[in-house]
Amino acid sequence: MNKDALMSFLSSLVVLAVGLLIGFVILLVSNASSAWEAFRTILTFGFRGIRNVGDVLLGATPIIMTGLSVAFAFKTGLFNIGATGQFAFGGLVAILVGHNFEGLPNGLRIILALLAATAAGAAWGAIPGLLKAFRNVHEVISCIMTNYIGMFLVTFLVDRYAFNPAIGRSQALPEGSNLPTLGFQYIFREEFLPGFYRSSQVNVGILIAIFTAILMYIILEKTTFGYELKACGFNKDAAKYAGINQNRSIVASMMIAGGLAGLGGALLYTSGTETMSAANVLLPYGFTGISVAFLGLSNPIGIIFSGTLVSYLFLGGARTQVLGFSIEVVEIVISVIIYFCAFVFLVKTFLGKHIGRLLRRGKSPEQDRADKGGESA
């Protein structure tokens, strides 16, 4: 691990620790007697039993995808707050494909669902991209608008084409339209009675998410296309001067970001655990994706870890309801963490200086001088 990556990792940990500390204070204030127990639950529940590990991975899948979506746009200088709408759109399309196309074999139908969802998310992400590139509309505002438009459109379509009045949500998908579990159910399970098992429903989705993250890393770091996108994010005037088509980059970046979120929606709604609400409510996954992206310092590989971590905290946080706490506690902790993420780069600089000094202290003055001389030269 090189020094920069180490510092990034450490600064994320510092941010996380501060967020957790403040979260603990909030727990203390709201119910002092069971605060410690709740805090311990948040910190350890995800590792209590292999089934919970599976649930952490299951919960991580959609937010890794929305995290990647936000991070990819962010790397190219755009703030994709519209991941929620793109996610919902992708999820809806996956559900519609899952219910129809009975003629196709199961495997093909699932692949079609995932591809169609990605395309739908990309199309939804293209709207703010096009508006930004050609009409100079700030993407934050247009993303907020497309979130609301998407919400109304998606709930209308759920209501019209996939509604199950008994639960007020979308009809559950037929078994063959769900993602394969690849035998994970035999690994991530617990024996609650001798011979009887409860399994986590973790499935191939988490592998798709990890694979996508690696793919995004390669695109951003190892290809000319990714380099151009990042150049637009760093300094759009310099990028223009270098002959990079800025408008094309903006639209491409938003479409990829939208596609990632759309695929995330598909992975959630074809996991067999979730149906879509027909009420007009914005889904939380896009917003959680923002925290995941910043906690992972917008690095696709970092996002695999930050997404897993946030999922881990949410699972433990949901568990504190047993102790009488509400799930909002975890949301407060997460929001505090994001607040500190706003200056994670500051923490990184601070750590860099401080640790740099510590390292130098161990050396002889001559060596130190030589090092410094090397730096200035």
């Binding site: 508006l131 505002i141 438009i149 909002e328 949301e331 500051l346």
Partner: protein, 323 residues
């Protein structure tokens, strides 16, 4: 005619908080700080204000005059907005952090905090904070009897509507006719130039963000009082709409008034389409009416954003050594 009056009333109920909150955004952005946290500040202002009303009316059961109650409620909402805006100011001015991220964090925090604390503090343990609306003025003496204009503007109205208009006028005056306003705008356009003539960019930006916190916090109460009898932890995206109003209004007070009226009318019609015979008879799903304001915003922005009127230095942390 009753439908028309009702639509006009709702237009006013909706546009007043939009005006006040987008003015909050205006002060912040004119000083050079992006304020995406308007939504969160509205939520916290509405939360603290309604919590105060709930306690006065239902817990302490004080016999307080509606005027005093409204005054104190607005004051508390403003104070709450200011407190949370300090967190945003500290991150974006002192620590020079990413202003958008800090804003997002405040929005998330506000929503979760309002629901969580409401559950802990109300007797029923629910996230709904109830209050009784004692503020409505059925008819303004004298003015309410004017034909047409009376029922349209001066019946079923609230003092807060007048307050919103006064704040608009005062803001325009402060921004464009006072030394403070000039300095504030300078910090958003060219902070180095302002600094070079002895204006403290830090202080001015703090002033901008604090004003935005006060106005957004107050906006939370202005939003909730006319249209509801309980606050449930959300202001339905009005903070974001206010941001759109600000952009659509090209960062100018007069145009903000028109932008807010446009939004108010759209949202009002969308919420009452079922009472309008010819719209109801179209047989269109309610969600399409609900999305119209947002679609209209996108279309309008597409035609008005080409030459942006945003302050030049907005979103950039002030760097003394920068050029």
């Amino acid at each position: 005619m009753a439908v028309f009056y009702s639509i006009m009333h709702w237009t006013v109920y909706i546009m007043i908080p939009l005006i006040v909150v987008s003015l909050g955004g205006l002060f912040s952005e004119k000083s050079g700080v992006v304020n995406i946290a308007l939504e969160g500040k509205m939520i916290l202002g509405a939360f603290a204000g309604t919590m105060f009303m709930y306690h006065v009316q239902n817990v302490w059961e004080l016999a307080m005059s509606p005027w005093l109650l409204l005054f104190l409620t607005l004051l508390i909402a403003m104070a709450t907005g200011i407190i949370i805006s300090l967190a945003h100011a500290y991150a974006s001015i002192n620590l020079r952090a990413n202003q958008v991220i800090s804003g997002i964090a405040i929005n998330m925090f506000a929503a979760a905090f309002a629901i969580y604390t409401a559950r802990a503090m109300t007797r029923a343990g629910s996230q709904h904070i109830h209050f009784s609306n004692v503020f409505r003025i059925d008819s303004v003496p004298g003015l309410g009897n004017i034909p047409f204009l009376g029922p349209m503007l001066f019946q079923n109205t609230y003092f807060t509507s007048l307050l919103g208009i006064l704040i608009l006028a005062a803001s325009a005056f402060v921004l464009y006719k006072t030394k403070f306003g000039l300095r504030l705008r300078a910090c958003g356009e060219h902070p180095q130039a302002a600094d070079s003539v002895g204006v403290s960019v830090t202080k001015m930006r703090y002033a901008g963000v604090i004003l935005s916190g006060a106005l957004a916090g107050m906006g939370g109460i202005l939003y909730i009082v006319p249209i509801a009898s309980a606050f449930s932890g959300t202001v339905a995206g009005y903070g974001f709409l206010a941001l759109a109003v600000l952009i659509f209004g090209a960062w100018k007070p007069q145009r903000i008034l028109f932008a807010a009226f446009f939004f108010g009318l759209m949202l009002s019609v969308a919420s009452q389409f079922s009472a309008i015979p010819f719209l109801r008879d179209l047989g269109i799903h309610a969600n399409f009416f609900r999305m119209t304001p947002y679609v209209a915003t996108l279309v309008v922005l597409a035609f008005t954003s080409k030459n942006t009127a945003a302050p030049k230095a907005v979103g950039q942390p002030y760097d003394k050594g920068g050029r």
